[in-house]
Symmetry: D2
């Protein structure tokens, strides 16, 4: 992770967090540990908790040896989450790095509320804007909305890894297969691109005609869902909306069609209804065959959960995308305590200067700008 490593070097000199405490809540594993290392290098004291049941304790031990207080313990149950949230909030952290907005929520009524926070997810940002609206008196930088993530992670990272995962799970060739991609947002256009590069013919289904026109100009076929369904050999959803492919649509599809979802929700394809009507027989890990009453067979991957993360052997996001996201976190935290910035309270995008700084560093790490 060269971009984050470069940030560590800078923090070691500049000590942006000297004398401050950071409440940290994010999946604890070797890569996020490098983010904590960056905060420690910048002079922070860090008190950390992971997401329930996912903490890697080898990593936690290393972090502890570096002076980071890690609350998670092996064998702890779900009730530990609330305890840890309260305990971190009780320390009155100067900064909060959060994932889901629960830790931010826990700190809202502190006597000395944080100077600022970062929130990793769009759904956390949504919670801040809805449930906690008007209660957040300090700036919260929402990492996931950065345009850098759209480009590097959503289009290229997700696009490539979704296609790779489907190929890996099914061992199928995409050559001259008709792949129907639902949604032509950042993820959808990456999926369409990388499926095409494996020799597939692509049909894009997209309700926004402007994006649909862009798909056509990018060289893809564009069709109404009812037409697209009847030609699909592979269906991949990436719309972010539930119920995009319902059971009647599945019945219309050709015999042998493969169904995969690349969106966050596991309800884009109605696998629940499919399972009820035609329970899946497991062919291999993450791959099921469903024999419909109309005589056709349908294949589903990972029960319709986000395929590149949920499928057995799923590829996840590339290390480069992690490097980018964690550096956005580190530098956004630094901005929150930088007197040159005067941020307004509440959820807000990553400042342009941070995006620009991280994009430049990433370009250098790719051997560009030389």
């Amino acid at each position: 992770m060269p971009v984050l490593v470069e940030t560590i070097a800078e923090f070691k000199t500049g000590k942006p967090f000297q004398g401050m405490t950071v409440g940290f809540r994010l999946h604890l594993e070797p890569k996020t540990a490098v983010l904590i290392e960056a905060l420690l290098a910048g002079g922070a004291e860090v008190i950390a908790m992971g997401n329930e049941g996912t903490t890697q304790f080898g990593t936690a031990e290393v972090l502890a040896s570096q002076g980071c207080e890690v609350l998670d313990r092996p064998g702890q149950g779900p009730e530990a989450t609330a305890v840890h949230l309260s305990r971190i909030a009780a320390t009155g952290p100067d900064l909060v790095l959060d994932n889901g907005a629960e830790l931010i929520g826990a700190c809202l009524d502190n006597a000395n509320p944080p100077l600022g926070a970062t929130e990793e997810t769009t759904s956390g940002a949504f919670r801040l804007r809805e449930d906690l609206a008007g209660r957040v008196g300090f700036p919260v930088i929402v990492i996931n909305d950065s345009p850098l993530k759209s480009i590097v992670e959503n289009k290229h990272g997700v696009g490539e890894s979704v296609v790779d995962t489907i190929v890996r799970v099914t061992n199928m060739s995409f050559h001259k297969k008709r792949v129907v991609v639902y949604g032509y947002g950042w993820c959808g256009r990456g999926i369409a691109l990388y499926a095409q590069r494996r020799g597939a013919d692509i049909t894009v289904v997209e309700i926004d005609p402007i994006k649909a026109l862009e798909a056509a100009m990018d060289g893809f076929d564009v069709a109404e869902p009812s037409v697209a369904s009847t030609t699909a050999q592979v269906v991949i959803t990436a719309t972010g909306r539930p119920g995009v492919v319902d059971y009647p649509a599945i019945e219309q599809m050709p015999d042998g069609v493969l169904l995969a979802n690349a969106g966050y929700l596991d309800t884009e394809i109605d696998i629940r209804q499919l399972e009820q009507q035609a329970p899946g027989a497991e062919l291999s890990p993450s791959l099921k065959r469903h024999d419909l009453s109309n005589g056709k067979s349908v294949f589903s991957i990972a029960e319709g959960r986000i395929v590149n993360l949920a499928a057995f052997g799923g590829i996840g996001n590339p290390i480069e995308a992690m490097d980018l996201g964690l550096t956005l976190q580190a530098r956004s935290l630094a901005v929150l305590v930088d007197p040159d910035y005067d941020l307004s309270p509440g959820p807000q995008p990553v400042p342009d200067t941070v995006n620009a700084r991280v994009a430049t560093a990433m370009l250098y790490s790719m051997g560009q700008l030389g």
Copy 2:
């Protein structure tokens, strides 16, 4: 122009402009004549003038025979412009279709100002927002800012025709040539794409690091201008800003480099300075060779003016892009008199519904959505 033709059919039935007059100012030639035909079909009376010295009088005659009043006359001088603007304004048009905001300006103080107007250009919109700020009491829809134009016209239309024109003027092969593209906006990314598709190796120069990162993820090299200059065999500017390539930069470029500009301004490359230092010898129409004092030769196309329009044999925009732009005009005018819309005064983008409607029609014309 199937999309505009479909609009004519609709206007013939719906008569959206029944009983209204439209003041029209746009280049008068066969394609824009179809736009006037659409207005007439919609029930409008049209009084029209072209841009100075560009009116095609054969077209004007046909329009006159269809009942459109055309003010331009063969042999008229530049002083006719002001006369015609005043004359149209004096008729108190219900709607104005403008190009440069001069006709809109002339109508501002009418007793009965127009119900609304469309403005073709971004520079006209700029004038409305600056010089005429606060004086425009009716909605003005700015056509050029439509995202449809960015996609269809700027990226694919301009991108493809710029590369085609350079190949045509020079008869050179792009295979393994190093082409440096300045600017990674819509035009720049189209130019980079189509130059690559002819076998060139592309370097993108872009000051916005986020766009630069996108260029790198799209597979192009990205470099600082000082580095890019020293490797360029072809330079194409598409930044929209003056002075991007100055004379000292040209001196640093390799012997034999070709300079072309794809931006609106003819000052992106400092051809004026180049001409002073090393006057160009014309090799063929629109192609000059400049022998620099440092012993290198440099080639320039069309004196640095926008290459796909200004070069001899330049290809201009494809008919499909014209079809799109003129339909946006026709449907935006219809929206201005549609009671379902309640538009605020002043310059504003094309309404989403119009963009969506035109995008859908264009998709059908491309054989999609079937």
Copy 3:
């Protein structure tokens, strides 16, 4: 033409043709003049004639001033050809550079037949193998069969220029147009590739199933002619065989289809029959519209002659392809008098060593191998 220029430099030193005469018959224009310059630099005396009616006399004058004897005179009629052939043969040339095998034929019965010859065309080679079989007692190197020509000229040169020429003549956009390419030889695969790069959807029609499979693996659709015809918006033939698209097939095509031929013969598409059934109205130079009795219209380019050469504004082959072909000529002639080579009599391919030498030089000229 950097590759040929490099050869000239080498010949100036090595003088491979010292004391020899070369009978030269090839289109005489500025580029082929550089080939003659190479022979002169190598020490040859050259006596030259062009193809009937195509000689550029400005070029001829320059050649004469360099010591080359040029037989063609302005205003000469077709009867001059036989006279010039005889006259060159009568000089008893040591080497012959021919185009159509007529000059070779004229020298067969010389008391001192040539040491060797080169023949530019495949049809000339055919004549040598059929009509003159057994009579050619010296080696004749056939230039056009070199694999270098297949790659550089046929695939990329012809492929790109055919598509460019069609776009130029029609001013049409290829985006999402269905282009049917007949023949998946070197030219056909170039045409399919460059049409796809302009956004077209490609169907390949190819009678050899192995090539057809290659087309499918390359990402193109493959169809029987009867099916392909009914979907085509653009038809391009590149099979080298007559009667590929006959009139009944044209009648089955969609309204508005455009017909173009990229093969050597003007009979691949049966334009003669089309003209008889539905005489074409000229829309612009090289573009005709034919109104069929079944109510459809069909467009034809350049009367079905080879489109990139015959159409008005046709692009021809790029200079790089000429550079390659002429260098193959020059170096093949040198091999014929090189004692290290012991070539058998009769028509034969360009020796591997020559192909390798020219390919390497061309790579350097493209900035490769550095």
Copy 4:
């Protein structure tokens, strides 16, 4: 395997092998079992052995239940091979299906030698042409030399799976990585293509200048090995020759370079010398890091063995390539007993008619020719 399944249907009716015995020697697993099924369907009696130690006994049982005699037994040692070869030869098979030419060799001195044979591998064909030259009195069709295999298996199958395997083993992104591909044969061009489609910049190293020129025209950089080495971030060899990348070359490569081999031999990259100089530390299955004495680190995959087959999680060839190869086997055997064919003795390529027949079937299975 739709193409082979279609062949089975045809054999069931035509019974080409009625009353004949086939001696079968090929890896015995579920896919090759379908080939045996085809022979049984065609009326053959089959006596089969696998390659040493690779037989899947579940498959063997199924085959036995269908009437095929399988010689392999669980737990048998290497000495079984010779026994089984003799035993099959002793039955005097009418046809032989071989892999390595050992079974063919065993049958040469039979009183009634086979009517014909097929040989899967190029190395088996080599053995027939060298060691057994002049002794083979019946036709032997060599499957691996079919142009269909070059296209489907070598270019697209191997190309795609080599790149996929490297990505899977290393979890690296190829975006803007400099990948150096040694060899531009069928495999090399597939590797270059699929690496480029993942965003890599490609340099091709190729000693044949004609292929090198083709690589350049295909858009890749071409360099001498000494230059290419110094820029490589990933090296992939696919030349079929030993010692292509030796230890001194490895020392010149940039720090962090990754070495992978896609050729049949494990000696294209001199991993043996690398291991001696800098023993590899295993980072993950199939991935090692070597710390050189010059301070650089080098990574190697699968000890330099053929990466898509040997690496942990290697992807192997796609099922479509297997389908193709096994159908070529089945139909070539049928040709050997078809009176319409009069094949000469000795090793020879797959007949054109068989290639054409299988290519056509494969096109149909890809949804083409419709």
